[in-house]
């Protein structure tokens, strides 16, 4: 349904080029929830923004329903109705001077949808704000964090999209309301068949809601597959290291070395300066870019040795 094919995104950073996304294949199927995990700065947000058409790729393409995304104004606008965005901080995502009604009605107004008031009311109740009329004239600052995030989600739902891209949707919320928002995403998937790409660095969250997980390191997917397989039997040393910091993990693998810098991508396997089990080939022999496959796969020279 929504697919990244060999996508790369570059920024100019202090005179150098930073490849924030460097060759990513990723697909989100209909009614599927995919979690994109990885440490800070690995390019998750950039990938999400590019999938939304907010950032233009330096290479590769975004496909939607099998067709490449066009950046012409009219076609991009039509695309906005299909793929919607939910950001981390609901306080920042809402214009503080707009009421809940205005915030949710913005999408329908831009796209000139009929029955604006009904669309807004429906979106609010689907997002769990009931009765919706009670919230129409509220301002964001009068609501709790969880309610605000529901308003943001309602604003996305008002366009009746097929896919939600949620960038750390609960990271700024209290632990007590995180579960509620995640349950809401799951219910939207069940009731409306909504697909979602959920960006997170919380593996527990990925475990709870995702059908599939993609692990990103320095602009590239290093492991992907069904959630249970990837999180219970990780194959890539980086995934193993990420999982080892969970409290229930028996042994901790502490990642050493500098945090990765997208202006200086190491040769060979990009993870080799920090890898526990690095060996000869890793430093020089480049790895293939993983395809957008359903089954578990990892980009690591070790696996080739095994197989």
């Amino acid at each position: 349904m929504l697919e990244a094919r060999n996508l790369s995104v570059e920024f100019a950073s202090r005179g150098r080029r930073a490849r924030a996304v460097d060759g990513v294949n990723l697909a989100v199927g209909a009614g599927e929830i995919v979690a994109l995990v990885g440490e800070s700065g690995c390019g998750k947000t950039t990938l999400a923004r590019t999938l939304l058409g907010l950032e233009k790729p330096a290479g590769g393409e975004v496909f939607y329903d099998g067709k490449p995304l066009s950046y012409k104004a009219r076609e991009l606008k039509a695309y906005r109705r299909r793929v919607q965005l939910v950001l981390q901080d609901p306080t920042g995502s809402l214009n503080p001077r707009q009421t809940v009604y205005e915030a949710v009605a913005e999408g329908p107004r831009i796209h000139k949808l009929p029955d604006e008031e009904k669309v807004v009311a429906d979106a609010l109740s689907r997002a769990g704000l009931r009765p919706p009329e009670r919230f129409f004239l509220r301002y964001p600052h009068e609501l709790s964090g969880g309610q605000r995030q529901r308003v943001v989600i309602a604003g996305a739902l008002a366009l009746n999209p097929d896919v939600l891209i949620a960038d750390e949707p609960v990271a700024s919320l209290d632990a007590s309301v995180r579960g509620e928002i995640l349950a809401l995403l799951l219910r939207l998937r069940d009731d409306l068949g909504l697909s979602a790409l959920v960006v997170t660095h919380d593996l527990g969250l990925a475990w709870n809601i995702a059908d599939r997980v993609a692990v990103m390191y320095l602009g590239r997917i290093v492991e992907s597959g069904p959630t249970e397989q990837v999180l219970q039997s990780p194959q890539h040393p980086y995934t193993k290291a990420l999982l080892s910091v969970l409290p229930e993990s028996p042994e901790k693998i502490v990642l050493t070395g500098e945090p990765p810098d997208p202006t200086r991508i190491p040769s060979g396997c990009r993870f080799h300066p920090r890898c526990q089990v690095v060996f000869g080939d890793c430093r020089t022999v480049p790895l293939q870019i993983l395809p957008a496959a359903e089954t578990q796969q990892a980009a690591c020279h070790l696996l080739k040795l095994d197989g």
């Binding site: 104004a73 965005l85 950001l87 214009n95 913005e106 009670r134 004239l137 600052h141 604003g155």
Partner: protein, 343 residues
């Protein structure tokens, strides 16, 4: 919008209004306190200035010491300082600003005659400067680092650092005599020609006289509006709600117009009012340079005499209106911003 408020929300309005009223009252109290301090300060400030007003008034005329004493008595300057002070305070709170030493007329009347031209000049200059500054600042801040932004910022930094009187004198020199092929097109003194026609011709005549002083004032104050608006818009550019609006399909121009500019306008306009003193200061200088018959020039002339009561009066009026403007700006800001409204 076509949505009626629900009953529960109407109930909640009351505490919000009360909070606002309390806020407005506390601000008004603060303003009153400042004004009283200004009254006290004004009195002593102008008595510290060098120069004997009676001698200054007597200049050019032959007066015996007895006549000088008589004049001093007439002006109340022979009383002790505390006596003069209480007299001054008593009159001021009754809106009696005293009688000008020089003009021998009530200061309030003199102010009344001049205030119109000042309001005309500063009002026009402010409207132009605010409109231009906000428009240009919004565009510059929306695309930081763009050519338009660099150009705007450079211009405003230059204008900001140029002293008002220097720019005024430059314009005066260029347009009084004309430079090279540029003839002296605009009048450089006063508000009207001696032989000004009536009706529409008169309006045109005043407008022509206003061009240079107005240009000077606009040039000097518009830079700060531009820079303030630029930085306010810049604060909004990276906000998540701007991204969210884009992701919903709003055109870039509309995102700026509907989200960024309104939100940036509030802090900008407040700041504009808070810095109104800057404009007033500029007006005094500009009026003096172009002999514009307004309050600024009145004040300037009063200093040269020195005419204590006239100085006090104009100074008080100007200071008090700055305080009132600032207070109003503060209260209006709170009234308009839903975040602080009920906080």
């Amino acid at each position: 919008m076509t949505v009626a408020p629900s009953a529960s929300q109407e109930l909640e309005e009351t505490p919000v209004r009360n909070g606002m009223l309390r806020y407005a009252l506390s601000k008004a109290g603060g303003a009153l306190l400042s004004i009283s301090m200004v009254i006290v300060a004004t009195f002593f400030l102008f008595r510290l200035l060098p120069g004997d007003p009676v001698r200054a008034l007597a200049q050019g005329r032959n007066m015996t010491p007895e006549q000088l004493d008589l004049e001093r008595h007439r002006l109340g300057l022979d009383k002790s300082l505390p006596e003069q002070f209480f007299q001054f305070v008593k009159q001021t709170v009754q809106f009696d600003l005293g009688t000008s030493y020089e003009y021998k007329r009530p200061v309030l009347d003199l102010i009344g005659e001049r205030i119109g031209s000042t309001l005309l000049l500063t009002g026009t200059a402010l409207v132009i400067a605010v409109t231009l500054g906000i428009w240009q600042g919004a565009r510059a801040g929306w695309k930081p680092g763009s050519r338009f932004d660099r150009f705007s910022t450079a211009i405003s930094l230059v204008l900001w650092s140029v002293p008002t009187f220097w720019l005024g004198l430059l314009l005066l020199m260029v347009f009084a005599a004309g430079v090279g092929p540029i003839p002296g097109v605009f009048p450089t003194r006063g508000i009207e020609s001696v032989d000004a026609p009536d009706g529409f011709g008169y309006v045109l005549d005043v407008a022509k006289h206003m061009v240079l002083p107005c240009l000077t004032m606009v040039a000097v104050v518009y830079a700060q509006y531009l820079l303030v608006m630029r930085s306010s818009v810049l604060d909004e550019v990276g906000q998540d709600y701007v991204t969210t609006a884009r992701a919903k399909g709003l055109k870039d121009d509309d995102v700026r117009r509907k989200h960024a500019v309104p939100n940036a306008l509030l802090p900008t306009v407040t700041l504009v009012f808070m810095r109104i003193g800057f404009v007033v200061g500029g007006a005094v200088t500009v009026e003096a340079i172009f002999s514009w018959p307004g309050l600024g020039q009145l004040f300037y002339e009063a200093i040269r005499v020195p005419d204590f009561t006239l100085m006090q009066g104009t100074f008080l009026l100007i200071t008090v209106s700055v305080i009132v403007m600032n207070t109003l700006a503060d209260v209006v800001y709170h009234l308009l911003d839903p975040r602080v409204r009920s906080a």
